[in-house]
């Protein structure tokens, strides 16, 4: 079994190469870059929306990228049940595009934060998290990663078990609602997360290898 993965490149994406490198380093993955003007996702199993500053994050992170032609395709791809992983800026784009609920706004501490943080995986029953350990460490690197959702939305997410990652160890580095760091859609095939799994696939580089477990999970699910 091989997973065909595509990493979308928007102008201003800057973790695209890192995602490609990480997936190339995983057994069972074939990966290619997809320029945002392309209109076909033919034959892919997984689409990754990488981190970075698409369109400079001007206006709001993800606000301009969401109108890119490829995002319409990604939406259809998700509806067909394809796996979509939005990391950091990719998560922001998924929210702006309405594939996931809520919004990501400026960190409560008002400043960008880059460092590994402790996390808790609160639902290992999704295709992305089957093999993710309960306690893990992944790097974050964002200035606008405070996840906000209103009370109704939050209890719905909670009730449906769609909150899959939370900041742990008594931390909440950006002030997110209920320490939320990652959520899935109703069907469970779209995951948005602020931490960077692709930066944690080699211990020397990312301080842990916990990022691999997300991609290993998908391989098992597929």
């Amino acid at each position: 079994m091989t997973i065909e993965a595509g990493v979308i490149v928007f102008p201003g994406s800057n973790c695209d190469r890192d995602c490609v490198r990480a997936l190339k380093g995983m057994e069972g993955y074939r990966v290619r870059e997809i320029w945002h003007r392309e209109t076909e996702l033919g034959g892919l199993d997984l689409v990754v929306l990488p981190g970075g500053f698409s369109y400079g994050d001007y206006l709001r992170p993800g606000a301009i990228a969401r109108f890119s032609p490829i995002v319409r395709e990604v939406t259809r791809f998700a509806e067909r049940g394809g796996y979509v992983l939005g990391i950091c800026n990719g998560f922001q784009i998924l929210l702006e595009a309405g594939l996931l609920p809520g919004a990501l706004i400026r960190n409560a501490g008002l400043r960008f934060i880059c460092e590994p943080v402790p996390l808790e995986c609160t639902n290992t029953n999704t295709p992305f998290t089957k093999k993710v350990p309960r306690n893990l460490t992944l790097p974050i690197a964002h200035g606008q990663g405070r996840y906000f959702i209103d009370e109704t939305g939050r209890s719905k997410l909670e009730a449906e078990g769609r909150i899959v990652l939370r900041y742990a160890g008594g931390t909440n580095p950006n002030g997110s609602t209920n320490r939320i760091a990652g959520i899935v859609n109703e069907k469970g095939n779209v995951l948005g997360m602020m931490p960077h799994p692709e930066r944690a696939c080699e211990i020397l580089i990312g301080s842990s290898e916990d990022g691999r477990s997300f991609f290993e999970s998908l391989l098992q699910a597929a």
Partner: protein
């Protein structure tokens, strides 16, 4: 012809930047403040004859994220 679209966080979304400014202002001795909220203001030059309605659509679709923000539009005739 110019419009201004003012965008602010909804009241239920806390505004740490506003809070920080409030605190800094008080520390500097500005004690007349009771609340500060920080938002964006888009100054928009439009073609003659553009209607506010059209700006509303623009705001809804692009300028504003309705999950966390509200907006108001104003003709600006300075």
């Amino acid at each position: 012809m110019r419009y201004v679209v003012e965008v602010h966080l909804k009241p239920e979304v806390s505004d740490p930047e506003g809070a920080a400014i409030l605190q800094a202002a008080r520390a500097l001795g500005f004690d007349f403040l009771s609340d500060v909220r920080v938002g964006k203001s888009f100054e928009i030059e439009v073609k003659e004859g553009t209607e506010e309605k059209e700006l509303e659509v623009l705001s809804d679709k692009l300028l504003v994220n309705p999950v966390v923000e509200t907006f108001r539009i104003r003709r600006d005739d300075d």
